[in-house]
């Protein structure tokens, strides 16, 4: 991890800050996009990000036409090109980012569910409800047939409750446990929650093997529901699942858990306890609205501080789709959009298939020697595609910034062209030294394109580029 003091003071403050926002609330932004956001201003951009229209993208029909198997996605592998395209091209990046966040927190694994259509519906559920009240999200996910199947709730009966969903709802989805494994709830609370969710299940599903998949359906069977009296977190009543969720979202532990997870995902891999507590307060005062917490994050001096920029290790998804968006690769759903999830998988994150109900372990754990090679190779290859419109624009931007560029100017122009990036002084010095091996750049020379591209590739190969 690079220390804050190692970093070069960020250039043009507004652009650097906006770039920081877009890296965290999205997957980064091109220099052109940054300029458009800057015209709107920081606060207006935050509001726009927080309030996506939730409409189907205009090009969804084309995705369906070119990737027809995603329409009837029988498996996560068949489904994931659909999300890959949205991640690569969505004009509402926070909508996809919050879906990615909840996909890792309310994790359902494709290895068991193995129903691509249902996985895509869950991602869409996260888009629609991921920024709204946490209660609504929990109610929706508790009626999600994929989740019910994943956590065995179809096997939870009035006479024999299965505790899996009730336990994970408390431990991993809402209240959490501390380092000792203790939670702000007891084993009796888990059992009471499990009883409250009896009768909530996924309807038996048509096998997909011979006609493709059919929609999964949630069913509630009142005859199989335990409507007897239960005591849960100190309250007693004939609770059902919705009542349990109502009680959960009132808990301080829930406010702190959600605040902490949002902080870790959007702000820093290292939690600032005072800031987490402030965000927990926003959870309580807003009725648990995720949008309000994110607004409180993005508008805070804490988030805006230079000390927090480039402090988070990019997840594989952030790296892959961040690079693809930076180079602005796609105009239509080309065949190799289908390959993007595989690159993310090689780096350790298989979308639509979190490794367990715990989701992914984030932060420094993303990067080992094998993953690092994949990350660097992927980024270098993409920046080397001079037919990508974004790469072309970067080259042109650098070349039109002056007739002759010193190594220092060349490095700084490249960093700016890549979306107001910053690197540490040490890295910058190495890059300048590298760029200087061939002297100043005559931007009208035949070698200009190649030298700019080589430097763009060198930048994405630096340790600094692994952070957002």
């Amino acid at each position: 991890m690079l220390s804050a003091t190692e970093r070069k003071p960020a250039p043009p403050t507004d652009a650097a800050l906006m770039a920081h926002l877009l890296r965290r609330a999205g997957f980064g932004a091109t220099r052109d996009q940054l300029d458009r956001y800057l015209k709107d201003g920081y606060e207006a951009t935050v509001e726009a990000l927080l309030n996506p229209p939730h409409s189907e993208p205009a090009d969804q029909d084309l995705v369906d036409r070119y990737f027809i198997a995603t329409v009837e996605a029988r498996s996560p592998g068949h489904a994931v090109p659909h999300w890959a395209w949205r991640l690569a091209t969505s004009e509402h990046p926070l909508e996809e980012k919050i879906a990615l966040f909840w996909h890792g927190l309310l994790a359902v694994g494709g290895i068991k569910l193995d129903h691509g259509l249902e996985m895509l519906r869950e991602i869409d559920l996260f888009r629609r409800h991921g920024l709204g009240p946490f209660r609504t999200l929990l109610v929706e996910i508790s009626r999600d047939p994929g989740m019910m199947y994943w956590l065995d709730n179809q096997n939870s009966h009035k006479t024999a409750p299965n505790e899996n969903y009730g336990r994970e709802l408390l431990e991993l989805f809402s209240m959490g446990i501390d380092r000792t494994g203790a939670g702000a709830y007891t084993e009796a609370d888990v059992k009471a929650a499990a009883r409250a969710f009896t009768g909530w299940a996924a309807k038996p599903t048509m096998p997909p093997f011979f006609l493709g998949p059919f929609d999964m359906e949630f069913i509630f069977d009142p005859a199989d529901h335990d409507d007897g009296e239960k005591t849960f977190l100190g309250r007693t009543g004939n609770f059902n699942g919705d009542d349990i969720i109502d009680i959960i979202v009132e808990q301080d532990a829930t406010a702190r858990f959600v605040a902490r997870r949002l902080y870790l995902f959007f702000v820093s891999d290292t939690p600032d306890e005072a800031e987490v507590e402030r965000l927990a307060g926003v959870f309580r005062s807003s009725g648990g609205e995720i949008r309000a917490i994110l607004r409180a994050i993005f508008l805070s001096d804490h988030f805006k501080s230079e000390a927090l920029r480039f402090r988070k290790v990019k997840s594989p998804a952030e790296l892959v789709w961040g690079v693809v968006r930076t180079v602005d690769r796609y105009r239509i759903p080309e065949l190799d959009v289908c390959d993007l999830p595989a690159y993310s998988t090689y780096m350790g994150q298989m979308l639509l298939n979190p490794p367990s109900v715990e989701g992914w372990h984030e932060g420094e754990e993303w990067v080992d020697s094998g993953a690092l090679i994949e990350r660097v190779n992927f980024a270098v290859n993409e920046l080397g595609r001079t037919d990508s419109p974004g790469v072309r624009r970067m080259i042109d931007s650098v070349k039109t910034s002056g007739r002759r560029l010193s190594p220092t100017a060349l490095v700084d122009r490249c960093l700016d062209a890549m979306g107001a990036l910053a690197v540490s002084e040490r890295t910058r010095a190495i890059l300048i030294d590298h760029a200087g091996r061939n002297g100043s750049l005559d931007t009208t020379s035949e070698e200009a394109d190649d030298r700019v591209v080589e430097l763009l590739q060198a930048i994405v190969a630096t340790p600094d580029f692994q952070y957002c």
Binding site: R65, A69, G77, H78, P204, T205, P207, F210, G212, L335
Partner: protein, 326 residues
């Protein structure tokens, strides 16, 4: 609602990654000997593309044109058509070319290269032969229809991008009527357009919607011997049939029963059979079209629909021969 002009005949198909069965079939044709050719699109990443050959009574024969970019391979195939010599032509929108196979699947040749100039292709979609034996190719990202000799020599083209009469927006399917007039499924304009053989615009019908006579992304087209027009109304999951005067005649929503191959699959996979019964699906959703992409009519009154997302071909028989248009 019952059918008026058609009866449901039977269904051929089973989802399969190779061998007997299909994977997202996007086109279907019958050769002069009554043999069925089905083009499976799959997702190219899943590499299950192929042309499957079978009889109309579900006797599976063989397959060819598996995934790849080498000669004789297909990557993102879009359409299939058969000439008078029973040679099979397949358009590929990833390789921007047309591959030609013998009726036994043996690769003969391929032609076409990417570009925007005359004779170049940018994602070829629908294919149809005219009465002279020349091949019309819907060159969909170039928003035009191009005519080639069977060997790939460019002859002519018409069309441009737009929504005005004679313009196209991501066109897909193509069919020719007995007069040689050309009908195009103008996919993103949600309409069907008719042209003279020389490309002169004649008429258009349809608009965006789900009522009779409206479309949501029409894909495949067919014209039967009586001049009736069949439109695969893709996003509406139905086939609309129109009179030669372009008036709605009937809507087909799908009537599939289990195919012979499905019956055989369930017979040897009893747990699948039981799971199917437990789901309560049989006899309801199972029968409907899901993204029908293409239609093929035959001179003996069969109407075959490539039911893309159910991996099958639904076959109808026309029972009332419509009055031929003047």
């Amino acid at each position: 609602m019952g059918l008026t002009n058609f009866t449901y005949s039977h269904t051929i198909g089973l989802a399969s990654f190779e061998g007997r069965g299909f994977m997202n079939p996007v086109d279907v044709r019958v050769n002069s000997k009554g043999v069925l050719y089905v083009l499976s699109r799959s997702n190219a990443q899943n590499k299950d593309v192929r042309v499957s050959v079978a009889t109309l009574d579900s006797d599976y024969k063989f397959e060819f044109g598996r995934w790849g970019t080498d000669p004789g391979k297909l990557t993102m195939p879009t359409a299939l058509v058969i000439d008078r010599q029973d040679r099979v032509y397949v358009a590929d929108e990833h390789m921007h070319n047309v591959s030609v196979f013998a009726e036994d699947g043996k690769f003969i040749s391929r032609w076409g290269e990417p570009g925007t100039g005359p004779g170049k292709l940018n994602r070829p979609a629908g294919l149809a032969f005219d009465s002279h034996g020349d091949l019309l190719v819907v060159d969909h990202l170039n928003a035009r229809v191009q005519k080639f000799t069977p060997e790939g020599a460019f002859i002519s083209s018409f069309g441009e991008f737009g929504s005005a009469a004679g313009q196209f927006n991501y066109p897909w399917g193509i069919a020719l009527d007995n007069a040689g007039d050309i009908w195009i499924a103008d996919w993103r304009n949600d309409r069907v357009q008719k042209f003279r053989p020389d490309g002169e615009f004649v008429a258009a019908f349809g608009r965006t919607g789900s009522k009779p006579g409206e479309f949501r992304r029409p894909s495949g087209l067919a014209i039967d011997d009586g001049g009736d027009i069949y439109v695969a109304d893709w996003q509406n999951d139905r086939v609309q049939v129109f009179t030669p005067q372009m008036k709605p005649r009937e809507v087909l929503n799908g009537d599939a029963t289990l195919s012979k191959w499905c019956e055989e699959f369930l017979a040897v996979n009893p747990e699948q059979r039981d799971q199917r019964i437990a789901s309560g699906i049989p006899g309801h959703e199972e029968r409907f079209f899901w993204r029908p992409s293409a239609i093929c009519t035959t001179s003996d009154g069969l109407v075959m629909v490539a039911d893309s997302c159910r991996h099958r071909i639904q076959i109808y028989r026309r029972v009332r021969v419509p009055v031929t248009a003047p």
